[in-house]
């Protein structure tokens, strides 16, 4: 082999491996995460939570102080405490959380009230075709169509992996929409408004794809 072929081969091999990595690097890191001690989870790319906040600081809401207003096209608008919501319904689910920026957390255990239960409780009117979730973190918000919100696994969660939902994960209350990328799952939800048409959410106004369904690219 001539001398130049060695360096050229190394270069092309590296680039080729990297291109394969576009598709498979996360399989590698998620396998690594399973064998590495949990203390280093935060350093393992692509398979653990990352905290995204859009305001200068995260909202700080004590669970007892939480008030969630539900209004718009509903027969029985109202303001709910966490205890009120827990009265409406409490459902547990295990689902994967996919972020559009390339990480996935598998098997997250959530407890919360399903939107199906909540919309039934407040009496969503026939004209209510969209559910708008407004965060205490201004100006974050996002909307689901009513049909999307009525999928059985869409919930307002107050518990994650057996503990009260932590502040950085949107505690005391966040939306969980497992079939869509994480930017739909609004954190620090304090206002839910039923409307006739869905509004573009925060990241959608910043260029994100309005079709947020988790695709085949995640092996889901």
């Amino acid at each position: 082999m001539d001398d130049r072929a060695i360096g050229r081969g190394a270069f092309l091999g590296l680039v080729g491996t990297g291109v394969l990595g576009l598709f498979f690097a996360r399989d590698l890191t998620s396998a690594a995460r399973r064998v590495l001690p949990s203390q280093v989870d935060g350093f393992v790319p692509g398979s653990n939570w990352r905290i995204y906040t859009v305001a200068a600081s995260m909202p700080k809401i004590a669970a007892d102080d939480l008030r969630v207003t539900v209004d718009g096209l509903v027969d029985r608008p109202g303001t709910f405490t966490l205890a009120d919501l827990q009265q409406v319904g409490s459902t547990a689910q295990v689902s994967d959380f996919h972020c559009v920026t390339g990480w996935t957390v598998e098997d997250v255990r959530w407890v919360g009230v399903t939107l199906r239960d909540l919309l039934g409780h407040v009496g969503a009117q026939p004209g209510a075709k969209a559910v708008r979730f407004i965060s205490a973190e201004k100006p974050y918000e996002d909307s689901l169509t009513r049909d999307q919100a009525m999928l059985g696994d869409v919930m307002l969660a107050w518990q994650m992996d057996g503990a009260p939902l932590a502040r950085e994960h949107g505690g005391p209350l966040r939306l969980v929409m497992p079939a869509m990328y994480g930017y739909k799952s609004v954190k620090w939800v304090t206002h839910i408004r039923l409307e006739s048409t869905p509004q573009p959410g925060f990241w959608e106004r910043n260029g994100y794809d309005a079709d947020a369904w988790v695709g085949r690219s995640n092996g889901a």
Partner: protein
């Protein structure tokens, strides 16, 4: 008296190096903020941090393209040919059969350059798909984010080694001059890169010293 010097890097090569170096650290700073949750929580404002990261990336790519487009491409081609060529002496050096005479670059420098260029391409490619993938999920591939992060980890290790050799290690830190002024001391080059000096001297003085190998 000023020591005799020898040109190691043209302005084009130096410009390419410094554009890449400054951009790397600028993108590393915003990248670290987005990666580590504690920093992300403390600083917040993800849209702003992300915009700065993306803007730096655009400046980086445009500046590199500008240096290559308007610079001394012949010098770049010559350097890359030397970098890619891992000769018998380089292989001996890599196998720790030292000392062995080195050309303008030793095998470690060649490998560092090959890896850096490959990583630059992969950073740009994975970054482009991270950006596109948010806008259209058809471009969102499962490994893109993990690849971008793994490249960062590997690059930080390389850069730490590179900084040590360029700034601290006694026998190599003189090479820093080559990347600032372009020139290194001839005496240092003769000790560390004798094959290179011999080659430059042959090129500057094409007359053979003995008549034996003269064409008939």
């Amino acid at each position: 008296m000023e020591p005799e010097r020898i040109l190691r890097f043209t302005r084009t090569e130096r410009a390419l190096h410094w554009v890449h170096a400054v951009s790397f650290f600028a993108m590393l700073a915003t990248g670290i903020v987005m990666f580590f949750s504690t920093l992300a929580e403390a600083i917040g404002r993800r849209p702003l941090v992300k915009d700065v990261h993306l803007l730096t990336a655009v400046v980086w790519v445009v500046a590199l393209a500008g240096v290559i487009g308007f610079g001394n491409r012949a010098a770049l081609r010559r350097t890359w040919a030397e970098v890619e060529s891992i000769d018998a002496d380089d292989r001996a050096w890599l196998a720790f059969r030292r000392p062995v005479a080195q050309g303008r670059f030793n095998a470690g420098q060649k490998i560092n350059t090959i890896v850096t260029v490959a990583f630059a391409l992969l950073f740009a490619l994975s970054g482009l798909f991270l950006w596109l993938g948010e806008r259209n999920h058809a471009f969102r591939f499962d490994g893109t984010g993990a690849l971008h992060d793994l490249l960062t980890f590997a690059s930080v290790v390389l850069v730490v080694g590179h900084l040590y050799l360029a700034l601290i290690h006694p026998s190599t830190r003189h090479a820093m001059r080559g990347m600032t002024s372009g020139q290194v001391d001839l005496e240092w080059a003769q000790r560390h890169h004798p094959k290179w000096v011999a080659q430059v001297e042959r090129a500057a003085d094409p007359l053979p010293t003995s008549g034996s190998d003269q064409p008939g």
